[in-house]
């Protein structure tokens, strides 16, 4: 029970520290960019964690939602000068629509089959974005129109500092959503589905509906993060925002490294992997294009081989050792 009280305190302290960090940094500097990307990917990992962690639906196609969000708001901004806030909401709606469409053939799939189907769905959207050049600009990519007098309403700023606080706010909101789901009735239902789907049905859990709700929430969040990303990067192409490696697997990897299904998982995972990747990229530059992704692959393989039966337990074991708590049934609680 002490943990129940300790957790909010820790999180609150964490947010305060994160809010204070930029004060010591150059607001146009490279470090700020790394911090922004880290926060973004922590949020993405948490969004994935809702389906991948709580419902055990291993999605390898979340880039579809991310790209839908990024493209929707950017295209609407280009064509109609629509505020990215509104464009982002429309992107969320489209992403939910796609999640619903995808759920028709995939809701009953499990494990490997679900992973394969979502992988193909994400790739299908990437192919469409690449070939529908009239709207998306095709493989050459798309630029967010530059507005000299930036504003919060148009989500454009002269430094990345406001972006940083937007990313931080998004992360806090998404973590709250995750926690609300996890500790609420839906969390119980998703845990039941994860641990024994048939038994869950028989005692009255509408497994289809529960998974659908989780998928839609996750899709909507991921899409809005796509909009935030577009307004931060100003330029992107289909292979980046719809990429299996750049988005779909990275989201999952971040959640898994930090502890799948845990609130803290994506935070730990992103803090570990994103700065490492960004630094490797800036250090080695284009001379070693595949290095960071090679490292991803190698780290994934190593982490799994170190403890194949309990990805969730890796960081948890360290923590339990640290706090002197040995209980094994604690594993499922947080």
């Amino acid at each position: 029970m002490t943990r129940q009280r300790l957790l909010p305190v820790l999180l609150f302290a964490g947010v305060i520290i994160l809010a204070l960090i930029p004060l010591g940094l150059d607001p146009r500097g490279y470090e700020m960019r790394i911090l922004c990307i880290t926060l973004l990917f922590a949020s993405l990992g948490q969004a994935w964690n809702i389906v991948g962690g709580l419902a055990n639906q291993i999605s390898l196609g979340h880039a579809a939602y991310f790209g839908i969000g990024a493209y929707t708001s950017t295209i609407l901004l280009k064509l109609f000068s629509l505020s990215p806030w509104l464009g982002g909401v429309i992107g969320m709606i489209l992403a939910v629509a796609f999640a619903l469409l995808l759920s028709l053939p995939t809701a009953r799939l499990k494990g490997h089959y679900y992973a394969l189907a979502t992988l193909a769905a994400g790739e299908a959207i990437r192919v469409i974005a690449n070939s529908w050049a009239d709207v998306t600009g095709g493989p050459v990519g798309i630029s967010v129109p530059y507005l000299p007098d930036g504003s919060l309403w148009m989500m454009q700023f002269s430094t990345v500092l406001p972006n940083y606080y937007l990313f931080l706010a998004a992360l806090v909101v998404i973590c709250l959503v995750f926690w609300k789901i996890k500790s609420g009735a839906l969390g119980y239902r998703l845990r039941a589905i994860k641990e024994n789907e048939q038994a869950a049905e028989v005692i009255g859990v509408d497994t289809y509906r529960s998974k659908l709700i989780a998928a839609c929430v996750s899709a909507a969040i991921t899409a809005f993060l796509g909009t935030l990303y577009a307004q931060f990067q100003f330029f992107f192409d289909p292979d980046t925002v719809f990429g299996v490696a750049t988005i779909s697997v990275k989201m999952a990897l971040i959640a898994i490294l930090g502890g799948v299904g845990r609130l803290s998982g994506p935070l730990v995972g992103a803090a570990f992997i994103i700065p490492m990747e960004e630094m490797a990229n800036s250090y080695f530059g284009s001379s070693a294009a595949g290095l960071s992704q090679f490292a991803y692959g190698a780290i994934l393989v190593l982490v799994i081989l170190l403890n194949p039966h309990g990805l969730t337990a890796l960081f948890a074991q360290l923590r339990d050792r640290f706090t002197g708590k040995g209980g094994s049934h604690d594993r499922s609680v947080a």
């Binding site: 009735a185 024994n196 049905e201 028989v202 005692i203 009255g204 094994s328 049934h329 594993r331 499922s332």
Partner: protein, 251 residues
């Protein structure tokens, strides 16, 4: 006489070429404790799965409180008031005992009420002491009890118990029998699959006998224990012939 709680009419289930349940018809009235017995592989668990919607029947009608329920998904049938426990125990193994039971309670309650209800039920079935233990860490008899508690928390009108007394000591069996009786007195109806004949004969007022997927007898325990087809099914044709000359001792 009131309408039956459960009506089963000509229910059949095929798996490929195998007929697991064949043209089964019976009624269960509110307040009954009905035993469902039969040799291994007779189709008892399959029948439970058909009633609770785990599989749809290949043909036939199932009605719960007069409304067709055959072919509905399990959660819809649970909402109508029928659920079951699993023969091989299908708990949420990583969750605590309390959380397992709470999940059942969410069918008809918001989370805080489901928690209260789950605690009451754990009290009633005598599991309060282990409420916070992970289900995967329990012994088999404990798990079976948690199965019952989780199912009870859905507030069923009709609860199907699939071998919850397996591996219990005689004293523990007595406890379960008392529990089922007191729950019945509070308004729950039961169909019970059990291999332990003495316990079945003691607990149930009426027995259904399945053999090779067919319902071969339906009657009171005394009637059933004298039924030639039942004796033949259990002990083989030769034994039945031998017994025919002698009166059968009732259990």
């Amino acid at each position: 006489m009131t309408a039956p709680l459960l009506e089963v009419r000509g229910v059949t289930r095929r798996f490929g070429g195998l007929i697991a349940v064949n043209d089964v018809t019976f009624d269960v009235h509110a307040g009954e404790i009905v035993g469902l017995i039969g040799p291994n592989g007779a189709g008892k668990t399959t029948l439970f799965n058909l009633l609770t919607g785990v599989y749809p029947p290949s043909s036939g009608d199932i009605r719960l409180e007069g409304e067709a329920s055959g072919g509905l998904k399990p959660h819809k049938i649970a909402r109508r008031g029928m659920t079951k426990t699993f023969q091989n125990v299908a708990l949420f193994m990583e969750s605590s005992v309390l959380d397992n039971v709470v999940t059942g309670g969410l069918l008809n309650n918001a989370l805080p009420e489901a928690r209260d209800k789950a605690r009451q039920i754990l009290d009633r079935v005598g599991l309060s002491a282990i409420a916070d233990v992970r289900a995967g860490d329990l012994s088999f008899p404990e798990r079976a009890r948690v199965e019952v508690a989780r199912a009870l928390c859905t507030e069923p009108k009709l609860l199907l118990l699939d071998e919850v007394m397996a591996a219990l000591t005689p004293a523990e069996m007595e406890e379960v029998i008392d529990l089922v009786r007191s729950l019945r007195d509070d308004g729950t109806t039961f169909i019970v699959v059990e291999h332990h004949m003495k316990a079945v004969m003691k607990l149930c007022e009426r027995l259904l006998v399945l053999n090779f997927g067919e319902l071969i007898a339906d009657g009171t325990p005394t009637e059933i224990s004298r039924n030639d087809r039942v004796i033949e099914a259990y002990l083989g044709a030769n034994f039945a012939k031998k017994q025919a000359s002698q009166p059968v001792e009732t259990a």
